[in-house]
Amino acid sequence: MDGPAVILVVVTTPAPPPDALRLVTGLVAGGHAVRLVEAGPGRGALSAADDLPEETEDYLRAIADFDVKPEPIDDPALREALLASSSLMRIGDPARAGEPAVLAVSDALIRESAGEELIQLITDPGQVIRA
């Protein structure tokens, strides 16, 4: 990855917990470049929800002051976002498959994965890290 370090936060669950947003808010407040996106099952989980917990709303307002807002994105945009990222935080579904246990997401892996495959790539693993 070239360019400034960007932490990509990918929401892949329809119900991201407030705790996860607390972590995102901490990164933003710490002055990091953070991009918050929603993909696959997470599309609209924050950007289009009308019944979010109050705590989550508070965090979204806080990061909005830093021009960080949740963006629903499709496969091609996710690919670009991943390639531009230096770190990856996946806010996943607790009921995800968990396979593989850990997936290192490299540039090569991102380029080799097409369409829905790319969404599944970061949705199913137990943990994902940017490699």
């Binding site: 370090a5 960007v6 932490i7 917990p17 705790d19 996860a20 607390r22 972590l23 808010t25 901490g26 990164l27 407040a29 710490g30 002055g31 990091h32 470049a33 230096s86 770190s87 990856l88 935080m89 996946r90 806010i91 996943g92 607790p94 995800r96 968990g98 396979e99 593989p100 246990a101 850990v102 693993p125 137990g126 943990q127 890290i129 940017r130």
Partner: protein, 95 residues
């Protein structure tokens, strides 16, 4: 500290992949937060350069610093994250 890796350990050891990932983190700086407090007594953390405990989560759980191995310090999530350099690698272990 050069080539520091940062691990935000928010998941309990039972989270998918958590043990596999933490095993890679000798020499890392770690923040235990939320369910991650469950890792406080894990011997693998002894190989890390710096282990911090989220004070807010610890207070909520009744956990005390006296129960931690030597060298463990308090931090808030915001303070710890402010020390992170993403270009060094921020790895997160979430539930």
């Amino acid at each position: 500290m050069e080539n520091v890796r940062h691990l935000l350990l928010h998941a309990a050891p039972s989270a998918p992949g958590a043990v596999d990932l933490v095993a890679r983190f000798a020499g890392a700086r770690i923040l235990l937060a939320g369910p991650g407090l469950a890792w406080a007594g894990d011997e693998r953390l002894a190989a890390c350069d710096d282990v911090a405990v989220c004070s807010q989560d610890a207070r909520a759980s009744g956990w005390t610093l006296e129960a931690a191995p030597e060298g463990v310090r308090w931090s808030s999530v915001a303070t710890w994250l402010a020390e992170v350099k993403p270009e060094d690698g921020l790895w997160t272990v979430l539930p």
